[in-house]
């Protein structure tokens, strides 16, 4: 597209201002994590100081941040693995087999994206409570309990994203493998999955980000044993004051892995964020 010089300069100016509006709060906040306590809240802000790791040490060891990190990792990775195990075969069927209810089912899956978390969160809390009192099955504040509930938003997304990746592959691929004697499942496992691998990785990463950032269901259903990193951030807000340096250390621990993953994923991001509706 040929663009007049003045128009291009104007575009640069506006976009750079927008980028600054993103970078300033993110960087200025993150820098606070490396500030010693006396200048957490200095005004005007102190820009030149001796960076320290004492906030991270405090958060990670004194306040048991490593436990929250461990919980977040277990819950996020666990729920993504389960979502992939359940979702990938389903996505394959939607991409390959023609059957009457396939379109209606795919639309139903999109509609699940619209459900507010409170609508499932409330009954989950009550159901877990009744299970505990009635049958002695404790799911509240356990990893399996959270991993199951996270399927409400992970599983539909996995199916939609993976269906797109499967549909891109030619059906002749596994058909010729089946002629050579593979069963349908064998062909899927030995021939299709190795090729669709990058799509699985992209799906896994995006779902990991959603699980990692999740706050609401964890707030209702997690407890002392399973508290996640986003929940631990709230513990640095005391009624009268906020421990800003510590808080931003937690924020950084939450944020950095996701930003790294986003850079890896950036080409596939739109597909996941739009639920693949746009294809």
């Amino acid at each position: 597209m040929r663009v007049p010089r003045s128009e291009r300069i104007l575009a640069y100016v506006i976009l750079i201002v927008m980028a600054i509006l993103v970078l300033v709060p993110v960087l200025a906040g993150s820098v606070t994590a490396f500030k010693p306590q006396i200048i957490w809240v200095s005004s005007p802000p102190t820009w030149i100081f001796e960076p320290t790791l004492e906030n991270f040490e405090f958060v990670f060891f004194t306040r048991k941040g490593w436990l929250f990190l461990r919980n977040s990792l277990i819950i996020s990775i666990g729920s993504v693995v389960i979502a992939l195990i359940l979702g990938v075969p389903a996505a394959y069927a939607f991409a390959r087999f023609r059957f009457r209810s396939s379109k209606a089912l795919m639309q139903w899956l999109i509609s699940l994206r619209m459900i507010p978390p409170i609508v499932v969160g409330l009954p989950f809390y009550a159901m877990f409570l009744y299970l505990e009192r009635g049958l002695g099955v404790g799911l509240r504040d356990t990893f399996p309990g959270l991993i199951i509930t996270y399927q409400t938003f992970l599983l539909p997304l996995v199916i939609w994203m993976m269906r797109g990746y499967f549909a891109e592959l030619p059906a002749a691929m596994e058909e010729s493998a089946m002629v050579e004697g593979y069963t349908r499942l064998g062909a899927l496992w030995r021939v299709v999955l190795p090729v669709v691998w990058p799509g699985i990785v992209a799906t896994a990463i995006l779902n990991f980000i959603f699980a990692w950032n999740e706050f609401f269901l964890a707030l209702i259903l997690a407890g002392n044993r399973t508290s996640t990193l986003p929940m631990s951030a709230g513990t640095y807000i005391v009624r009268t004051r906020v421990e800003w340096g510590n808080l931003f250390s937690v924020n950084l621990i939450i944020m950095v892995p996701v930003i790294v993953l986003t850079i890896i994923l950036r080409r596939q991001l739109v597909k996941g964020l739009t639920f693949g509706i746009l294809e």
Partner: protein, 314 residues
Amino acid sequence: MGETSTMNLPAASDNSSQPFSNRLYQMTQRHRHWFFIAPALIILLLVVIYPIIFSTGVSLFRVTFASQSRPFVGLQNFERMLGNDDFIQSALNTLYYVFFSVSGSFIIGFGVALLIRRVTAGKELLRLILIIPITMAPIVVGLMWNWMLDPLFGLVNWFLGLLGIPGQTMLAQASTARLTVVLVDIWQWYPLVFLIIEAGMATLPRAPFESARLEGVSSWMIFRRLTLPMLRPVILVALLLRTVDAFRTFDLVRVMTDGGPALTTETLSLYLYRTAFTFNKLSRAAAGSILMLLCIGLISALMFRYLYRDVEVG
């Protein structure tokens, strides 16, 4: 033998050897997709549909966490909810939130998508910086902006101070709190609109635009008559996703204002959470959440119908 031939399938030719296993084979072939789909479907029924049914049930009784007795009360919880000023207030707040957050993020996101096409060097880097907010947990975004907006040491007030404007307590005043939270929500989510619109524009055919330009059509007319109509499905997807997300907002408001001051920022999710867990009125919260579900279901169904009219989804 005659039974197998009535199946009328090519594989069922004239084999008289194992009619039953053959029929079984064909049946499994015809329904093989269910073997792949069933596990996922069963889990989804269990974690989405069953809770909703359960919640509907709870809303018809009077259930609290404390008491064991659960009398049937019919639609009383729904009546109580609809007659409750705080519920109505939070519904109106949510509408305000949805309207301004969706339109704000849409306009800015669309604008950025148009601008970034005019840029050459540094495009990748700009895009990468601009999408950082969507990847952040809403709770992190809220805490970060609390710090930015602090009346004593926040960067925003420090900056306003340089311009000679005295310190503001935007989150503590009823008149500004709502707008401030919405602005932060826009800050986080306009990049989503930008990404969707940009992806949509990349798929547009070039030919009609080039011929229009050759015929000397003004760029405004090209935008109105070509770009906008061709982007319609993409625009609808962006609006739909933004609407459902804004409608259920919880995390951001929870950490920024927690519904205050004086309930001016209380969204539906926040109000229902409080009804259930602070005031221990589970049934009433369940009734409210069912109303909320019906509401968002209606909105998205309407938008979906509109979307389906001109694009094949899936």
